[in-house]
């Protein structure tokens, strides 16, 4: 029993331990850690703009975190969130730009979302298929698919879709934007936080229902926990592997909604900026539980934005160190025998 309670507190312990380490590193770099902390929290929470920025980053991280967490339950490690998100973002931007201006905004956004999910989903599902059909380890295939996605978007941008004057794709019409949270609730004025946040929360809830309440989730967990027994019970694990990888890719793709439809309205190189990879950290910190993904994403969102905000005092690299340390400590604590 004590072991179970201890496990519940692992993420908090890891965060606290990593924070202490980072304080020490900041002190070593010649800055007063408490001052940096204060600046960070002030930047993130004292202004509407700062809080909105944190939530904007949190939104993408919820999507990419879920994209790692769900396959994790079937003992699959999806490291391909970045590539899935990249392709999805390009697909969403191109779809948005190609649609006629006369379409009602809701329909246009739905089209973009569909294009994003299809692109990400296909990318994820192909890793699943490679595993089921040819036994290719999904870690290797998703890394390779990341490279392909990176190169393909680069190629498509330079040779086809980027406008020479701006270096990014054509902007979608203003009507195709997702409403900002500011527009709806009068909160977080001037920040890029948009209603994708609500979509992200809804997706996390649906993912939890799928995993813990649905028959598909029951079978999926059996495949993850006891693959041999699942086979004996007549569960077709191949289908689950392909499906969950496709689903993960589609969810990572939804992150494009936040970046493109909610914020930039176009695609440019570097737009996805490593969100796909940070999703791995989010999922590990959350113990692959879809509901815990939300606070974990918030924590990493805070670090991502806060790191930028105090960039004048300490290099942003220190915050990357905190992120990585947190995850290492989580893994070490989990591996510890109770």
């Amino acid at each position: 029993m004590t072991a179970r309670i201890f496990r519940l507190f692992i993420p908090l312990l890891a965060v606290a331990a990593a924070a202490l380490c980072s304080m020490a590193i900041i002190a070593l770099s010649g800055r007063d850690p408490l001052m940096i902390c204060e600046k960070l929290f002030r930047a993130a929470f004292a202004s509407d703009y700062g809080a909105g920025q944190v939530l904007f980053k949190t939104t993408t991280l919820i999507f990419t975190g879920l994209a790692v967490a769900l396959p994790f339950r079937a003992r699959l490690f999806n490291v391909g969130g970045e590539g899935q998100l990249q392709l999805a973002a390009l697909a969403a931007a191109i779809t948005g730009a190609l649609l006629p201006e006369s379409l009602p905004p809701v329909v246009a956004v739905l089209f973009s979302a569909f294009a994003a999910m299809a692109a990400g989903g296909l990318w994820g599902a192909s890793a699943g298929l490679l595993k089921v059909r040819f036994g290719v380890n999904e870690v290797i295939s998703t890394i390779m698919l990341n490279f392909i996605a990176q190169a393909a978007t680069g190629y498509l941008m330079s040779w086809r879709f980027a406008e020479p004057s701006t270096g990014h794709t054509a902007e979608t019409g203003g009507a195709f934007m997702l409403p900002q949270i500011d527009d709806l609730f009068g909160l977080f004025a001037g920040s890029p936080a948009n209603i994708s946040l609500l979509i992200a929360l809804g997706t996390a809830l649906c993912a939890a229902l799928y995993l813990f309440r649905s028959r598909a989730g029951y079978e999926l967990q059996a495949v993850g926990l006891q693959p041999e027994a699942a086979k004996y019970a007549g569960i077709q694990s191949g289908r689950h592997v392909t499906a969950v990888m496709g689903l993960a890719g589609a969810i990572a793709g939804l992150g494009a909604l936040n970046l493109v439809s909610g914020y930039k309205h176009y695609y440019e190189a570097g737009l996805t900026g490593g969100f796909g990879f940070s999703g791995i950290a989010v999922a590990l910190l959350a113990g692959a539980n879809p509901l815990w993904i939300v606070p974990a994403a918030l924590f990493f969102g805070l670090l991502e934005y806060g790191g930028l905000a105090v960039g004048a005092y300490v290099p942003k690299d220190i915050f990357m160190i905190i992120q990585a340390l947190t995850i290492l400590i989580v893994i070490v604590l989990n591996a510890r025998k109770p």
Partner: protein
């Protein structure tokens, strides 16, 4: 005589479970001492405490009169204790000699070994104790009995004076068992102390000098084997008198349900695993399949359940109610009204991390009665689990929140048996080692349910390495040897044999070796 091992008030807790409660025990030097008990009674924990695999929470231990406290098996080995585990720990690609000397090469890393020298010393050791085995044979070519001899050689090579054996006869034929016992007696005659952990009361009485009965983590009593009986030991183990012989009224077989015709299976590497296997099972009869592990039973079962290695080559036919089921998936076969209780329940039949209720429907979760929307009707599932658990005496209070892994082995097996026997429209029940690693109380319960299913008209295929179980339950018995059925004992022969007892067991044992 002095004591080789003396335990005083030894205790060990796992979480809230007291696996050993203040166990005090003395084992005389040079004696054969047996520890018996139900599953979860704490025998294996006790052995692991002595061998240094677990550290006790309290109490003291003395080896040959010296107080000790082992932090690891390495320290126990240094103190002259050796253990032969239930599951052998050998490297199949290495030779017998290499396995025995592994870790004691007496050479520096990267320096050449001395294979002839070690083979010679092992040959002498095996001659001395009558452990016939070729030191240069690769372990992968050995039989199970020979593998066990290698394990014992490993222990002797390390100069152990105290041997602990955990369920040593689980995988042996009667002939191999008597050979093992003769060897253990000669070891004891040499002054070695032997501690044997087992379920089988017959063997205890045949082999041991002293027996300790454990129940729920405590010692119920230590007796001299000369002065006790099987019935007395059984009573001490379960706290009530159990029927060691099951009521088995004559059966009335009906239509043929399963018929296997000239079934053959050859692996991709060309090894013949099954050859011309033919038998049929009628509704209302139990067809027992006797055989030592590795003679084709696992291949036969995986073919019947549709999970065989698809790269292998299959010949012959498997007809279920006249329709060929070759190449169908487990889900499709189950839908026909077929249930399987696989041998390795932890790996193949349950998900230990799921709740008891979640396991009670595992594999049957496609049945509409458990469904609601995209998910399960959780109240129905919980109620079903509680009811079925009640019928089969599964000891668990909260079916929805207790993970199955928290139950004892016997209770886990009752969950599997309950689930598979309760399958709607059950026509064929395939059971593999249904009572392995299960305590006496649960064995009785499971045997009664098997007879019950037979009387309800199910056709039953029973694969077991326990000959007395096969004889007690089966209508007919097939003897499987090297992938073929060597002989099928008719209902009359089995009925006669049940009365003859031991001689029939020997006859059956001969036909599978």
């Amino acid at each position: 005589m002095e004591n080789a091992i003396r335990l005083t008030a030894l205790s060990k807790k796992f979480g809230t479970v007291e696996a050993c409660r203040s166990v005090s025990l003395s084992i005389r030097s040079g004696s054969i001492h047996a520890v018996v008990g139900e599953n979860g009674a704490g025998k294996s924990t006790l052995a692991r405490l002595i061998y240094g695999m677990h550290r006790p929470d309290g109490g003291t231990m003395e080896i040959n009169g010296t107080p000790v406290s082992f932090a690891s098996p390495a320290e126990a080995i240094a103190a002259g204790i050796g253990m032969v585990h239930q599951h052998f720990m050998l490297v199949p690609t290495l030779t017998v000699a290499e396995n025995v000397t592994l870790g004691l090469e007496k050479k520096r890393l990267f320096f050449p070994l001395d294979p002839e020298g070690s083979a010679e010393s092992i040959r002498q050791l095996s001659l001395k104790y009558g452990l016939a085995v070729d030191p240069l044979a690769p372990v992968s070519t050995l039989s199970v009995g020979e593998e066990q001899r290698v394990e014992i050689l490993k222990v002797l090579y390390r100069n152990a004076r105290i041997l602990i054996l955990d369920e040593p006869t689980a995988v042996l034929t009667p002939q191999e068992t008597s050979r093992l016992f003769a060897m253990l007696r000669s070891l004891a005659g040499e002054g070695k102390t032997i501690l044997i952990i087992t379920h089988k009361l017959d063997e205890v009485l045949a082999l041991a000098d002293t027996v300790t009965v454990m129940s729920r983590g405590s010692v119920t009593g230590t007796l001299s084997c000369k002065e006790t009986s099987k019935e007395e030991l059984a009573r001490m183990m379960v706290g009530r008198s159990v029927l060691l012989r099951i009521e088995n009224p004559p059966s009335t077989p009906g239509e043929t349900v399963l018929s296997v015709e000239n079934l053959g299976f050859r692996t991709a590497a060309g090894l013949v695993k099954l050859e011309k296997v033919s038998f049929c099972i009628r509704s209302g009869e139990i067809f027992g399949l006797a055989g030592v592990e590795g003679n084709g039973q696992s291949e036969l079962l995986s073919l019947l359940w549709g999970i065989h290695d698809r790269s292998g080559q299959l010949s012959g036919k498997m007809l279920f109610e006249g329709a060929d089921i070759t190449g169908r998936s487990p889900g499709e076969i189950a839908r026909l009204g077929v249930s399987l209780v696989p041998e390795d329940r932890l790996k193949h039949a349950v998900v230990p991390g799921f709740s008891v209720a979640g396991n009670m429907i595992f594999g049957r979760h496609r049945e509409k009665r458990f469904h609601q929307g995209f998910g399960f009707d959780r109240r129905e599932v919980a109620e079903y689990s509680r009811n079925l658990g009640g019928t089969y005496d599964v000891r668990c209070t909260d079916h929805e929140n207790t993970p199955l892994g928290a139950l004892s082995g016997g209770n886990q097996q009752k969950v599997v048996v309950a689930r598979e026997l309760d399958r709607p429209g059950l026509k064929l029940l395939i059971l593999s080692q249904p009572t392995r690693g299960v305590d006496i109380g649960a064995i009785e319960q499971i045997h009664r349910s098997i007879i019950g299913a037979r009387d309800q008209g199910a056709a039953i295929l029973l694969v077991s390495s326990e000959l007395d179980e096969l004889i007690a339950l089966s209508t007919r018995i097939g003897a499987l040897y090297q992938g073929s059925i060597r002989r099928i004992f008719s209902p009359e022969e089995v009925r006669e044999g049940r009365k003859r007892g031991r001689p029939f067991e020997e006859e059956l044992g001969l036909s599978i070796t």
